[in-house]
Every structure is written in C-alpha cells, then in structure tokens.
C-alpha cells in the first residue's frame, strides 16, 4: 500500500514546533516511512509564525511542500496559528491544537472567537497543552503533549514514540524522559477520548 501522510505543524517561534516535527519524523522513520520535513528557520523564529510541512510515505517524496487542501492533519501549538494554516487541511482532515494563546501582537482577536472558529471544524482535538504539561511535571513538555495528542491519528505504535523520546532526552537525565513520557500519555489520552466521541 502506498501509505502517505501529510501534516502541517505550526506555532509561534520559540514554542518548539520543530521538536514536534522531529519526534514525528523520527518515529515515522522507525515505522519504515521516508520523510520530507520543511522547516522555517531564521527571522520568524523570533516570536513570529513558524510552520513545518511534514510528508511521510513508503515511496519517493518529491515536493518539500504540501499543497493547500492536502494535509490530513493541521497541528498547532497556538490556536491563532492553527487557524492561519487551516487552508492546508483536506476535506475530512483533523485539527489538533493547543488552546493556549500567545498574545505577542498588538490586536489579538478575542480568544473565545478563535476557539469557536476552531471548533467549527468537524474533526478536532483541542487541548490545554500548558495545563497537561504541568500535570506531567514539567511545563516545558507542551510540544510532547501535542505529539501525544496527534498520535491516535497516526498509524505508529506507541513504543516507537517512546523510544524516540528516550533517544532525544536521555542525555539530559531520566527525570526529563519521564516527564516527556507522561506528557505524551496525557496528550494521547485526551485525543483518544475525543476520538471515541467522533466515532
């Protein structure tokens, strides 16, 4: 089967969207998929809009970019940024987003309006990544919470993610690995509950 998965990841510079991308592509590689992951580096990493295009497939991947209307998943660490990238989503695609706003602009729209707009999309899993990261024991694991929240929508086995997290954080101490595992589990749990309602 020609398994192809396309995801748009987005957020605000400094939030760690590239590490979400890294966990996902390394996990996909373990699963045996080739990857192409386009990243934004440079200027916008200073608190601007940041996005990554992640394309995973069994065969050759040509384009580094995902065309509009083609992504299965739009995954955001910040709700306004998630909205900004919704045009990439294909009909029937899923939105996974943190609801925690980063209001570093002059006129941030009303938070309730932003969230209401996200909820209009038929398939969505919205979560407070900050609260869940704190619950996991380390507020800096928000990006791993999001990885957990995406995981039920992807065909990779959970141990593959956990191995990758271990590889990425192992050198920084076991406590950090544990916090990331907990963050992953909390994010995943949230989306599993959402999924059971969607079905």
């Amino acid at each position: 089967m020609n398994e192809t998965i396309e995801l748009i990841l987005c957020g605000v510079g400094g939030q760690g969207i590239l590490s979400v991308a890294q966990v996902l592509t390394l996990t996909a590689a373990e699963h045996g998929l080739a990857c192409k992951q386009s990243e934004v580096h440079g200027m916008s990493q200073r608190g601007g809009t940041v996005q990554a295009h992640v394309r995973l497939a069994r065969g050759i991947i040509h384009s580094p970019l995902i065309p509009a209307g083609r992504a299965e998943l739009v995954v955001g660490l910040e709700p306004l940024e998630t909205l900004r990238h919704l045009h990439f989503l294909k009909p029937g695609g899923t939105v996974v987003s943190s609801t925690v706003t980063v209001e570093n602009l002059a006129e941030y729209p009303e938070r309730d309006l932003v969230l209401a707009e996200l909820e209009r999309w038929p398939r969505h899993s919205l979560l407070d990544a900050e609260a869940l990261a704190r619950e996991a024991g380390n507020p800096r694991t928000q990006s791993t919470v999001l990885v957990g929240a995406v995981s039920p929508f992807l065909p990779f086995d959970v141990p593959l993610y956990l191995d990758v997290l271990e590889r990425m954080f192992g050198s920084k101490g076991q406590a950090l690995v544990e916090a990331n595992r907990a963050a992953f589990a909390l994010g995943r749990q949230h989306s599993l509950e959402v999924l059971s309602e969607l079905r």
Binding site: H41, G42, M43, S44, G47, P67, L80, E81, R84, L86
Partner: protein, 534 residues
Amino acid sequence: MLSEPLLGDEVVARAALDAGLRGAYSYPGTPATELLEYLQGSAEVAKGEVHASWSANEKVALEEALGHSLAGYRALVAMKHVGLNVALDPFVSSALTGSNGGFLVVVADDPGMHSSQNEQDSRVLAEFAGIPCLEPAEHQELYEAVQEGFSLSEDFRVPVMLRLTTRLAHCRAQVHRREPQPPRARRPLPERFEDWILLPVNARRRLGRLLETREKLMAHFDERAVSEVQEGVPGPLGVIAAGLGYAYFREHYPDPGSCPPHLHVRRYPLAPGALRALARKVDEVLVLEDGSPYVERALSGLLADPRVRVRGKLSGDLPRTGELTPELVGRALGFEGVPSRGPSMPLPGRPPSLCKGCGHADLFKALTEVRREFPGLFVTGDIGCYTLGALPPYQALQTCVAMGASIGMARGMADAGVLPVVAVLGESTFAHSGIPALLSALRGQVPMTVIILDNAAVAMTGGQQSLLSGEALLNLLAGLGVDPEHLHSLLPRPQDHAANVEVLRKALRHQGLSVVVAARECLQAARRRKRGLA
C-alpha cells in the same frame, strides 16, 4: 548506509565529509548557516581531521577556503546569497586562478525572502565568473552533487558553485551515504605560481584558459544531458525543470511513465544540445525554475527556433518574484488546484519581535527618549535582531540595507548636512563590514554617533559566537582612533535607563564622532551557555 533525517545544508556537510573534505569556512546567514554548524558538531572536526570555522565575513571565508584549496586539499565555503556579493571580488578572480584541491562554493538563495533583504539568483553570478554550477532538486541528488562538484573542480581545475534554495536547504530527509573517505592526500602545490599571481600578463592568459575550460565543461555536460532527455508521453508541451522546479513537476507526475517530454536541468553552463533535442519534440516548453528566469532567458538564444513557444516567468505563466510552490507549478502545468477553505474571520499577522527582556529593547527605549530632544535626528539601521527595532513599538530605525551599511550611509547623510545622525548596528555586523566604514568616517572627522549593540553573539542567525566583542571590541575602537572622551559604554537594562539616556544625550551633543557600545549578552545565548555548563 541510510543517514538520519538531515537538512539540505547538513546533507552538503555530510557529503563533503564523506568525500574527504579537509577545510570549511563560512559566515552565518539563513538559509546556509546549518552547514558549518553540522561540521562543527561532527566527529571528524572533533578528532581534528577536518577544519571548520566561522570567518569575519564571506569575503574572508572564500579567501580562506581558496587558500586551503591552493594548499592542495578539498575545501568549501558556505554562505547565503547576499554573502556572495560581499565575496564577489575574490570569487570572480578565483575563477582565473582556478583550484588545486577540490573547491566548492556553496550558496543558498532565498527566493521569497523568508529571511533576507533581497532576492537574487546565484546562477547568474556563477555565469558572471565563468564557473560551473550544480543545482540539485532533492536530497539524494544533493549528496551526489557534492561529490561530483569536488571531482569536477579537480578535473577541470575551477571552483564549482553548488546552488541551494531555502526549501532544499531547510528540508529534512534521509540520504544513502557512500563509504566515507578520509581527507584526501594533499595534492602538490602548483608548479607554476604565475597562475595564482593575477598580474595583467598572467590574468589575460588565465582568462583564455577559463573560456576554454568553459567550452569543455559545456561539452561534458551536454553529453550527459542529451542522454537524459526524457521522451515521456508525446504531446505538444515539453518541460524543462531545474532544481526544486523538477521536484514540483514530479509531484504532479509521480509515475515516470506518465510525464510529458522533459529535461531535468542539474548543471550549468546549460547543455544546448539537450535543450534543442527536447525542443524538437514539442511545440512549447514550460520552464520551471526557482529564482530568476535564468534558463528561460537563455533558451531564446539557445533554441533559436521561433516555432517553439517558451513559457515561464517572462511569459507570465509563473510569477516573476517569490518562490515556486507545488500549487503554482500545478497551475502552469494545467492542473486544477484542490479546493481548500480557511477560517472565516480575518487573522492579524504575527511579525517577529525582540525576545522579552532583550537588551536591544532597552537601548531602543533610551534612544526613543533622547530623540525628543533632537528634532530631525536620523537613525540609520543595519541587519541583525536589532532590525526588529524598526517595527512598532520602537520604530527607532529608518534604514536597513546591507551588512555594515548603517555607518557609511550615516556618514553620507552627515556630509549632506542631515544632522544629527546615528548609526545602529550589532557587533558581528560591525566586524563583518562596519570597520572600514568607521575608519573612513573617523579620518573624515564626520560628526555622527555610532551605536554598537554588543550582545556577544550572532543572534539573528542562531547565536553563533561573535569574533569581536567586549574588551577586544573596545580596544579595536580605541586603536582605530575613536577619541576616548567620546567612546562610551553602557549596560542596556531597565534599571540603568536614566543613566543610559544621559550617555546617549552626551554622545549626540558632541560635534564630532562618538561611539557608544551597549554591551549585554544575548538572553538566548546566555541561556544556552548556562545549559551547556549545567
């Protein structure tokens, strides 16, 4: 051996190491920065087998790499597109000296200006210098191109350009690696040093040789390209695709059997035989290329066939500026886009901004306050994180043109009577190209103020170490001849605001040249440093 997922920049670094690289030089600049960063993190550099260092600017970096090549080793220099403007002088002349050890000039263009002050196409400059240029479409081809580039450079004894664009440089993918080679044995120094002494008498001879080499290269490339013309499914439309244009083309024709007749352009100078062979099969050709309409323009001369219509950026089938996208290429190929739907509410943009607590912000606050006392004050800016001070809420800078340009432009304005005038730039930008400008303003006794923001890091490009900071910077300024009375230092932080306003006031009141160094470590660099120590 399959690699881990690597950025395009990292693929170049990995491939160069595997091909026996011995020395690499660079000045940071998006999207090229990660090449040298990867080398510096490599085992080969840690073991001392390979040299990799940041240079003061791209001109210096290119000369260092050229010296390494002259010494007989494989060498590379890496930079962003505008860096090549800075290095243009030795770049063009290095085409005349030629190379000894394989010499690769890696240039990353930024179509669409994701992180740049302009859009320019380095293929034009490779042609300007008369050297070959390789332009891969994807990662595996990129890996192979590095190896090919070194061999070409050694076989034809010319520097070889490797052109990347942002989407290749900053896309991650795995590549199949070849068996790594140890750094190549040193090639003997040239027998005739006249080839490297570009006095007119020698340079004329070398130019003749360069033109001959170019002919040979063209024939060499043409031979390969003719066999690469793809018959495809016969039809009126043929496609000539270079670099990412080819990747986007194949995205729309994933099955090689379904493609229209096409030619994938990977090397320059262009292969006239191959281009003509393709054109003979079709009524019109669509040119897909990222950057300027470089191939498209060349085609009108090369084809010399009024029967064949050439479509591309000049014909309006593709936009003249910005980067290619799969959607744009699809439309030019006649595919309908997939309908997509965004949110119904308007979304405010999110421009980049200074980090919370950044010392640059404290300096801009102080500058904004004294500004009220000096009506007509003009502030020339420069390139770095502090350029963000041009945006609200500070709006403190009135220009941003090229690395180091703040000082020269301020002097020009002062000479024209626009006073008072202040130049604001970072310490890395100052080291890159501000020093000669300050020297000239000092000798001209120009009344102006130069503010150097010394955060001890090349922050905008990810916090590489600065070559000129702290004591060394102050000593250099004194040595250049800045009057000690008018050389001020300040610490840009909130609790020193009043004192800093006073320092700026004093500097601005001075009728001659004054320099203010605002020194406080970049927050991000400090955080990384502490994490490194912990």
